[in-house]
């Protein structure tokens, strides 16, 4: 079944914006989506993949590598020069997946039948240059989350086990979703996601009705529905592509850097990660808006999603972190 069109998602502006920003600049890091069930978290992620342009990769290479980058790849394709287009990968990581399935392992099949030592790529290989989606990331076993974030940060998957020594590029954006009622992520892991958004069901009855109406239209006649939204999706895709090409030229003046630093100090967020993410997200947003340079308004818009999960928090504090970010934004930029 074709995924639901990204532009047809009703509301959820912040989640959509966060996903689009990582599509413009994957180095922003992962996105954490926390909220109720049935609010369209998985729909949005799958839709994003369909929205993004296809990538070009060597025919038969399970790591999605390009021909230029294919040197030293162990995928044994017969045509290392020939490329094909494939959709941007979005790989679902199911809870309870084993480490082997994630990072790859010895190819048992070949070891047993042919006595060869070969590597069977795992989910991380398939996610290269795309997205890795983990629903209920808060229930994923801690050691897997550690491992994932390590790979995501380094962009490379290194496997050393069972006499196997292997590495391959694994550059992907992690999108994790979950419901905080069912358990939370450790703070040290939270901090390693680039952006974090909170989603709730729409409050307006009319908006809820519209969500279901569109869903029905999509399910009843998928082709017609996709056709109706194709133009909007194409426009969005082109905007993202334009923004990507503008990204390097989007300047950030010293005042903007100062703003970022001031904000992070005021929030007491540790380390430079918050500052970097804030700047990158603001830059991506500026590029998306077609602005020549990053301005304070961009920072204000991305600050909640870039910083809310980095507050040094009292785990039993009642006030929502979004509120705290807003308060500090107001204070910092009041003058």
């Amino acid at each position: 079944m074709q995924p639901y069109p990204f532009s047809a998602i009703v509301g959820q502006a912040e989640m959509k914006e966060a996903l689009v920003l990582t599509a413009i600049d994957p180095s922003i890091g992962g996105v954490l989506v926390f909220g109720d069930r049935g609010t369209g978290k998985s729909t949005a992620v799958r839709a994003l993949a369909a929205l993004l342009p296809a990538i070009s990769a060597v025919v038969g290479c399970p790591y999605n590598r390009t021909a230029d980058d294919h040197h030293g790849c162990t995928c044994e394709t017969e045509t290392p020069k020939k490329e094909e287009m494939r959709p941007t990968p979005v790989v679902d990581l199911p809870l309870g997946a084993t480490e082997d399935r994630l990072v790859g392992a010895l190819d048992i099949e070949r070891a047993l039948t042919r006595g060869e030592k070969a590597f069977e790529p795992g989910l991380l290989a398939r996610a290269n240059r795309g997205y890795l989606y983990i629903d209920e990331v808060n229930l994923l076993e801690d050691h897997l989350v550690d491992l994932l974030l390590d790979v995501a940060a380094s962009g490379e998957n290194i496997v050393e086990r069972e006499g196997l020594s292997f590495r391959h590029p694994a550059k992907f954006v992690i999108v994790g979703s979950g419901n905080p009622e069912e358990g939370e992520l450790r703070p040290q892991l939270l901090d390693r996601f680039g952006l974090s958004v909170e989603v709730t069901s729409p409050r307006e009855i009319s908006e809820r009705v519209e969500v279901i109406r569109r869903r029905n239209a999509y399910e009843m006649d998928t082709r017609a529905f996709l056709k109706r939204w194709r133009a909007t999706d194409t426009r969005l895709r082109n905007t993202i592509l334009d923004a990507r090409s503008r990204l390097a030229d989007t300047a950030a003046a010293d005042e903007v850097l100062e703003d970022c630093a001031r904000l992070c100090i005021a929030l007491g967020s540790d380390g430079l990660r918050g500052e970097l993410t804030l700047l990158r997200a603001a830059r991506a947003l500026a590029a998306y808006d077609g602005a020549p340079a990053v301005g304070r308004e961009h920072i204000i818009r991305v600050a909640p999603m870039a910083l809310r999960h980095r507050l040094r928090r009292d785990p039993l504090d009642e006030a929502g972190s979004t509120l705290r970010v807003r308060r500090i934004l107001d204070e910092a930029f009041a003058a």
Binding site: L95, R101, S201, I212, R213
Partner: protein, 574 residues
Amino acid sequence: MTKTGVDPFDLANPWHRAVAARDILAVDSLALGGLLLRARHGPVRTRWLDGLGDALLPLPLRRLHPQTPDEALYGAIDVAATLQAGQTVRCSGVLTGPPTAVVVPMADTAEHGFAARLSQWLDARGGVAIALDEGNDPDERAPASLMERLAFHISLDNIALRDIGFTGATPDQIAAARAALAKVQDLDRVCEQFVNIAAALGINSLRPPAMAGRAAVAAAALAGLPAPEEPEIALATALVLAPRLQRLPEAPPDADSEAPDEPPAPKEDSGTSDPGAFDPKDAPDEVSVEAAMAQLPPGLLEEIARALSSGKKGGRSRVVATKAAARGRFAPSRPGQITAGARIDLLATMRRAAPWQPIRRRTSPDSTAPILIRPEDIAISRRRGRAERVAIFAVDASGSTAMGRLAECKGAIELLLAEAYQRRDHVAMIIFRGLKAEVLLPPTRSLVQTKRRLASVPGGGPTPLASGLEQALLLAEASRHRGMDPSIVLMTDGRGNIALDGSADREAALADLQDIADAVRRRGVPAMLIDIARLPRPAASALAERLAASYLPLPVVNARSLSEAVQSQWDTTH
């Protein structure tokens, strides 16, 4: 109303509802996802299941146990057969093949991982799932992610054998309804109505109203109607929305028109007050909601609300009893079968195969494989995991403590909770006051829930200490059952005055307390007693001794040193 379709059913009859759910599911299986059947094993359930296979045809019906390994779900090479044949032999997976109907027995024991895989499959419209929840314990429910995706939640409790005569639609009628499905009108209109009803019932997710819409349309197809009418809407409400009820609608339909000002509160506080929650006052279209409510069998919603509030600890936060084998230090490998999550110890396997090579070579001279490995050589590496810990707080909120110490006590608990959170321990909480103890929080890692519940703890009343300790013990046993490592932190002044049977008999209360304390000690549940009396008296320290628990009087500890003490206690007992 003239109907050309199947026999009309009686909405007030639970067996009829269960059969109707089965038939509707059969008409539009993939869109409805499936069904959760809460029933004990028995003739009623058997009868219901008997009709299932025929109704769902042409979908093949397969049983899928929650412990089914990935190999069987997704297909994999069959190692034993491959070794035997010398060439790759694959077995196909249940979830990768053509659309299938799966019956999941003991869905209440399913782990999140399994639920996640099924959910993914259901989202992709891969098939339909019938989850059987044997439901012995209200705390044990199928994982929420799975329940969310199954349109119907029905229960066969309290249905007698003589009531199960109604058989519902015949396979031919179902097939006819499937053919008519595309012609049924008004999906959007009924969906709008269901959005309103869902909002009035406090249901936040948008999946239920969407699924209710599909169910009403399928019911209309089954009844031979061009569009869903009131009975279909009532049926879908009863089958899809009512079981997910979070609160009773403002004015119960069967009550007098003078609705009480105070909204009924089916559950004091179990997560309905989240920020995304809906304020029913400003929005739902009251007319359509009331009309639908009026169609429901009287008392249905109240019954569900009651069940929810008595078993409210359940459902939301089932604990993951993680397979300890997935992490931890390596232990020596041992011979075994290749299953999900098992790691072959290749070296050990080779070592086991090595001595036999000359003999095997002789018996199969044609083989070109460099090493001849047989299934019996396979060695699996094991890990020795650490069980997850759960701290069970049993807190005295009775009058004797409420006056002076409850606030301080809450402060200390918050600190302990925060630390438990950092250590990734699970936390559970029991409050005792009045006549009985209550499990305020089942084992969870969620701080959001914990702090919400803690804040709402009222104080006052007599002290059912024995009941509090009993609940703690039950919870500890249940946690052990799930492979966790429990310890009890009892916060009290040690002066119980309510016996287990609820009578205000000091003597009996003491006797009960001592019995339970002995039981705790015998079962070796590590305990710690924190005396929260202003002036510690011997009662508490005597109880600690009886429990073989360490004893900490709160007056001499501040919150910080208290949590340190609990920590060191943990480290010595585990």
